[in-house]
Amino acid sequence: MDSKKKRELILDNYQNPSNRGIPEDDSYKRQNSRNESCVDNIDVAVKIDNGILEDIKFDGEACAICTSTASVMSKELKGKNIEEAEIMIDNFERMINEMPYDEDLLGELNIYNEIYKQPSRKKCALLPIKAVKRILESIE
């Protein structure tokens, strides 16, 4: 995929994000995630049923990369079981951190495969997934 197409998808997920808005529902586990520079600040909520990530929602104030990653991530993780989700998260982190990874496991999250070129954006891309990771760790 060329950079132009990737940018379009990222901006589309920023301007019209999927799964934005967290329902008042106790069956969702919530986690706040914010970066060190006091800028991005998002909440992620995951509904897990029988080991399956049934639903993922997010909300908050964040930059284009952070917001769009939350949107894409929520779509990609929905329906996965915990182990699949953890593998996907691990591969996404590896991609952002410029380590070997399996692109076949990342689906639309592959649009962030050039984020490493802007090191200041790495933490934005990782923020939403960090929240999901914490939620998964908390239930284990």
């Binding site: 104030e61 930059c63 649009i111 070129k117 802007q118």
Partner: protein, 398 residues
């Protein structure tokens, strides 16, 4: 002004984040390098030339700070890691023994984390009440708003001289007089003002004050706790070790040195202290009044120029320091900051470590430009030029 004294600007950097930290002139860097290349030694230790030279420079820096803030006595100047350590020493070393359950401490919601979190922490242990004085429509502090919160339980007022968010200059002289009249301790966070405005601790009736060298052209990792001598005498040291004791023995008896050594345990950041002294020399040479006047002129120019382009919302037009907060249309502040980075323009995005202020302003994220003596109108022109191309802000996402 004086741009040629700063090596770092030869790279074409446009640095507009001076409320975060400041650049260092060659004279400061040279003072630090000289210590490491010409006379490295510990302070207050040896009988050889280099050690004596270190003492001279280290204690010389203390005198420079004393004079710079017009403190009465040398021993009222304690070198710390920075403002944060100074505030923690004031609050946990002094206030923990001074305040009781029924007392009140008056702050504002515009304070930096280092002048709020230690208070919250201590109040949870002791039970005193923290009150926040109202801010005006322009988010500023007035003597009236301070005075109306004062009760017979108010023991301390602790506020910043200039806030790092709004950049408002507080009427510290009047508040100091009020504190004197009402017999209230006045704790001043001068971190943001020390490099920009003349400070006079005697005139302002300051009880305690914290400053950081890196916000005034000096190195990171060094700062000062100022306190009136009779108050500093009551601070319980948070650190015990070498340099601060006179005697100790196996029966558990020990005696501590007099101020300032009593509060400076261990080998201090000697190079940093010497660098801080050089920064004060540099600022003194230009003159604080001249620096302040220049910053105000630059800020006025910045506002004028920003007003010529659409979609710029400015939040603190009227504050009398070189800090300007704004947002660019619908764009998230961090996206703007990252966009400007490609032009080598450094600005800050976010809530600037004063997280309570969003309860008042209702805008939690802004772009912040904070100016200093070495910034120029040409740099402002470059910033404004870049912000004219707002359609390109999101082009930099990948």
């Amino acid at each position: 002004m004086n741009r040629e004294d700063f090596e770092i600007f030869k790279s074409g950097l446009i640095y507009l984040d001076n409320a975060a930290t400041t650049m260092k002139p060659n004279s400061v860097i040279n003072a630090i390098v000289d210590y490491y290349t010409k006379y490295t030694a510990n302070a207050h230790r040896g009988d050889y030339d280099n050690s004596l030279k270190v003492d001279q420079e280290y204690e010389g820096a203390r005198e420079k700070v004393r004079k710079f803030i017009n403190a009465k006595r040398l021993e009222e100047i304690i070198f710390t890691k920075g403002s944060t350590e100074a505030f923690n020493m004031i609050i946990f070393g002094f206030m923990s023994n001074f305040l009781t359950k029924n007392d009140e401490v008056l702050l504002t919601k515009g304070e930096h984390a280092s002048n709020i979190l230690p208070w919250i922490n201590l109040s949870k242990k002791i039970g005193f009440t923290i009150k926040y004085a109202d801010l005006t429509e322009d988010y500023e502090v007035t003597v009236e708003n301070i005075e109306k919160e004062i009760t017979n339980k108010t023991k301390v007022i602790a506020i910043a001289h200039i806030t790092n968010t709004i950049g408002d200059v507080r009427p510290v002289e009047e508040i100091g007089k009020l504190c004197e009249r009402k017999k209230i301790l006045f704790v001043l966070d001068a971190t943001q003002s020390i490099g920009h405005l003349k400070i006079d601790v005697e005139k302002y009736n300051i009880s305690f004050m914290g400053i950081s060298a890196h916000k005034m052209l000096g190195p990171t990792g060094v700062g000062v706790l100022y306190g009136k001598k009779e108050l500093l005498e009551k601070i319980v040291p948070m650190e015990y070790g070498g340099g601060m004791n006179e005697t100790f023995s196996s029966n558990g008896e020990y005696t501590l040195k007099a101020l300032p050594a009593r509060l400076e345990a261990g080998t201090r950041n000697i190079a940093g202290v010497i660098g801080m002294g050089a920064a004060i020399d540099y600022l003194d040479k230009i003159g604080m009044d001249k620096i302040h006047k220049y910053e105000i002129e630059l800020k006025k120019y910045l506002i004028e120029k920003l007003s010529t382009i659409p979609n710029i919302n400015i939040y603190n037009k009227n504050t009398k320091s070189g800090v300007l907060l704004f947002n660019v249309g619908k764009y998230f502040s961090q996206d703007v900051a990252i966009y400007l980075n490609q032009f080598k323009i450094c600005i800050r995005a976010g809530n600037h470590c004063a997280k309570m202020l969003q309860e008042v302003i209702c805008v939690s994220n802004t772009c912040r430009v904070s100016l200093y003596l070495y910034n120029t109108k040409e740099e402002i022109d470059r910033l404004v030029e870049a912000l004219k191309d707002q359609d390109k802000i999101l082009d930099t996402v990948v």
